[in-house]
C-alpha cells in the first residue's frame, strides 16, 4: 500500500515536472511560437486524411495548373492535383518518417553512447573511431548510397535515417555519461554490487536523459531537413505520395508561371522546421542545457 503511494507520488511528480518544463518553454515568445507551430502541424497531420477536400492522387487534365480559387485554395499542380490536399497530407509523411527515425536514432545512439562511456577502454576507442569515420562521410552521400541500393520506400528510409542520425547522439550520450560516471552515487552503486545493466538503468539513464532528449529534438529537425532534401533530389519517398520535398522539386520547373504549387509546400516545410527548431531550443533552455556553441554534426 505504502509503496503504491510512493510510485503514485513519483508519477504525479513526473507529470508535474513535464508540465513545469512546458510552462518554462512557453514563457518566452520564441518557445511559445515554436510549440504552437509544432502542435498545429501534429494536429493537422492527424486530421488531414479526414479534412482533405480532394483525392491526393486524382489526376485530371481539365484542372491542370489552375491558380488559387474558391474550389482549389492553393491552386492545382501540373497533373491537375489539388495542392491544398497534397500540402496538408505532406506533413503527415514528413512527421511519420522523421518521428520514427528520430526514435530509432535516440534508442541506438543513446544506448551505445552510454555503454561506451561506461565501459571505456579498447571497445570505447574502436567504437568512437568508427563513429568518427561515419561522421566524416557527408550524410547526403551515405543516405543516397543506401537508398539507391536498397530502394526508396518508407521501410528503408526510416531505419536508414534513424541509423545515420544516431551516430551524433552516440557522442553526446557518451560525453554525458562521462560527466556522471565519476559521481559518488555511481561508485556507491558499484560498491553495493549492482550489475552494469542495473547501473545504466537506475543511475545513468535518469541523469543523462535530458541531454540525450535535447539532442534528439535537434536531430529531429535535421532529419526532417535530410529527408526532404532526399525527396527533393528524387531519392526519398516515391510518387504519388504527397511529400513536400517531392512537390517542390516537381513544381520547380514551372514556377515561373505557376508559383503557387511551389509556395505551399515551401511554407509547410519551412514552418515545421522552424517550429521544431524553436521548440528544441526552448526545450534545451528549460532543461538548462546550452547548445548554442555546438556545431551541427
Amino acid at each position: 500500500m505504502e509503496s503504491n503511494l510512493i510510485t503514485e507520488n513519483k508519477q504525479k511528480n513526473k507529470l508535474e515536472k513535464a508540465f513545469e518544463i512546458l510552462k518554462t518553454m512557453a514563457s518566452k515568445p520564441s518557445g511559445l511560437i515554436g510549440l504552437t507551430i509544432v502542435l498545429f502541424h501534429v494536429v493537422l497531420a492527424l486530421i488531414s486524411p479526414y479534412i482533405a477536400p480532394y483525392d491526393y492522387k486524382a489526376i485530371s487534365p481539365n484542372t491542370m495548373l489552375l491558380a488559387p480559387s474558391a474550389e482549389h485554395w492553393f491552386g492545382t499542380d501540373s497533373l491537375g492535383r489539388d495542392v491544398f490536399t497534397r500540402t496538408i497530407l505532406g506533413g503527415r509523411t514528413a512527421l511519420t518518417v522523421t518521428f520514427f527515425g528520430s526514435l530509432i536514432a535516440l534508442l541506438w545512439g543513446g544506448l551505445l553512447g552510454i555503454f561506451c562511456g561506461l565501459v571505456g577502454g579498447k571497445i570505447d576507442d574502436v567504437v568512437m573511431r568508427v563513429v568518427d569515420a561515419f561522421l566524416s562521410i557527408p550524410w547526403i552521400l551515405a543516405m543516397l548510397l543506401i537508398v539507391s541500393l536498397l530502394g526508396t520506400s518508407t521501410e528503408v528510409l526510416i531505419p536508414a535515417l534513424g541509423f545515420f542520425y544516431g551516430k551524433g547522439i552516440v557522442r553526446v550520450a557518451r560525453a554525458a555519461t562521462h560527466d556522471v560516471i565519476a559521481k559518488d552515487f555511481i561508485v556507491s552503486a558499484r560498491a553495493r554490487g549492482h550489475s552494469n545493466l542495473s547501473i545504466i538503468w537506475n543511475e545513468i539513464i535518469p541523469n543523462v536523459r535530458d541531454a540525450i532528449l535535447v539532442e534528439g529534438a535537434m536531430r529531429w529537425s535535421w532529419m526532417l531537413l535530410g529527408f526532404s532534401s532526399l525527396s527533393f533530389l528524387g531519392f526519398g519517398v516515391s510518387p504519388p505520395t504527397p511529400d513536400w520535398g517531392l512537390m517542390i522539386s516537381n513544381a520547380r520547373g514551372l514556377m515561373s508561371f505557376a508559383y503557387w504549387s511551389v509556395i505551399a509546400p515551401i511554407v509547410g516545410l519551412s514552418s515545421l522546421i522552424i517550429g521544431i527548431n524553436l521548440t528544441a531550443d526552448a526545450f534545451a533552455k528549460a532543461l538548462g542545457i546550452d547548445r548554442s556553441t555546438k556545431a551541427p554534426v
Binding site: 557527408p138 539507391s148 541500393l149 531519392f235 514556377m255 515551401i266 522546421i273 556545431a295 551541427p296
Partner: protein, 318 residues
C-alpha cells in the same frame, strides 16, 4: 607539441582508413555488385563477363580492396563505368568548380559571420540583435533547396536580375564561373553565415561575462579597447573548431545547392554517379569528401593549437 600534431594527423588517417573500409564493405555487403548494379537488366552473358573482367571482380574482395587502396594512395581512382574514362579526368574540373564555389562562399561568409556575431553579442537583446538573430534563425533552419528555390523565384524570375540556373560546361574558365555563381554563393553563404554568426555570438557573450573582462571594465579600460584587446581574441579562438565542423557539415548542403542551380561541381557529380549507379565514382567521392572533412578539422585543430598560447605552454610542460 609536435607529438600532439602528429597524433592528430594519425587519428585523421585512421578515420580515413575506416571510411575507405566502410564504403568498400558497404558496396560489397549491399545487394548487387558494381557490374550488376550498373548494367541492370543487361547483366548477363558477355557484357557482364567483360565488366567483371574490367573491374577485376573475379578476384577475392580483400585483394580488390588492397589493390584499390594502394591505387588511391597513389592518386589513381580507377575507371568510371558510365563515362568509360579515368575517374581522375572526371573529377578534375568538378573539384575545381566546387572549390571556386566553396572558397568564394567562405571568403564572404566568415568575415560577415564574425561581424554579425559581434554586433549581436554586444547589443544583446536589443534591436540589432533581435533583428539579426531572427534572420539568422530563419536562414539556418530553412533547407538549402528551399532557400535556393526561393532565390531563383524572386531574383531570377520575378525581378529578372540574374540567370536562374548555371548553364556552363564543367570545364568553364574561372571568369565564366564567377559571373554565374552569384546566386549559388548567396544560397550557400547565407546558411553558413547564419550558423557561424550564432556561434560567434554565444562565444563573445561567454567571454564578456568572464572575470578578466569584468576586471578590465572595473579597471576603466575604454569599451572598444576592451572589446578588441580582451574579448575578441579570446572569443574567436574557440569558434575556429566549431566553424570548421560547420563548413564540413555544409558539404552535404552544397550537394543540394549545386543540383538546384545545375552547377557542374562535385555535388552534382554525387547525384549523377548515384543515378547512373557508377559505384567506382561513388567510392572515389566518398573518400574525397571524407578527406576534405578530416582535413578541415585537422587544420582547425592545428590553428587552435598554434594560436592559443595557453595550450602551447601546457603541452610543453607535459
Amino acid at each position: 607539441m609536435l607529438l600532439l600534431i602528429l597524433k592528430r594527423i594519425g587519428l585523421g588517417l585512421i578515420t580515413l582508413f575506416i571510411v575507405s573500409l566502410i564504403t568498400f564493405v558497404g558496396v560489397e555487403v549491399l545487394p548487387g555488385d558494381a557490374c550488376t548494379t550498373y548494367l541492370e537488366r543487361e547483366a548477363y552473358g558477355a557484357a557482364l563477363d567483360a565488366c567483371i573482367k574490367r573491374l577485376g571482380l573475379d578476384v577475392p574482395a580483400y585483394e580488390r580492396y588492397l589493390d584499390w587502396a594502394s591505387n588511391v594512395i597513389r592518386g589513381d581512382f580507377g575507371y568510371s563505368l558510365s563515362g568509360e574514362m579515368p575517374i581522375n579526368e572526371v573529377l578534375g574540373p568538378r573539384v575545381k568548380n566546387s572549390l571556386v564555389l566553396a572558397s568564394v562562399s567562405i571568403l564572404i561568409g566568415i568575415p560577415l559571420a564574425i561581424v554579425l556575431g559581434i554586433i549581436t553579442a554586444l547589443w544583446r537583446d536589443k534591436l540589432p540583435d533581435i533583428m539579426i538573430s531572427t534572420i539568422t534563425i530563419f536562414s539556418m533552419t530553412i533547407p538549402e533547396f528551399i532557400s535556393a528555390t526561393l532565390l531563383i523565384l524572386i531574383v531570377a524570375i520575378w525581378l529578372g536580375w540574374l540567370p536562374g540556373i548555371v548553364i556552363i560546361p564543367s570545364d568553364a574558365t574561372f571568369y565564366e564561373l564567377l559571373s554565374n555563381i552569384i546566386l549559388p554563393v548567396v544560397a550557400i553563404s547565407m546558411i553558413m553565415t547564419a550558423h557561424m554568426a550564432r556561434m560567434v555570438r554565444s562565444s563573445v557573450i561567454q567571454v564578456m561575462a568572464s572575470d578578466y573582462v569584468q576586471m578590465a571594465i572595473l579597471k576603466g579600460v575604454p569599451y572598444w579597447k576592451m572589446v578588441f584587446r580582451h574579448v575578441l581574441p579570446n572569443a574567436l579562438l574557440p569558434a575556429i573548431n566549431v566553424v570548421a565542423l560547420t563548413i564540413a557539415w555544409l558539404l552535404g548542403g552544397v550537394v543540394v545547392t549545386e543540383v538546384v542551380f545545375n552547377y557542374p561541381g562535385l555535388g552534382r557529380l554525387v547525384i549523377e554517379s548515384i543515378s547512373n549507379r557508377d559505384l567506382p565514382v561513388v567510392q572515389a567521392l566518398a573518400i574525397i569528401l571524407a578527406s576534405i572533412y578530416v582535413g578541415i578539422n585537422l587544420i582547425a585543430d592545428l590553428m587552435t593549437l598554434m594560436l592559443n598560447p595557453r595550450l602551447k605552454s601546457l603541452q610543453i610542460r607535459k
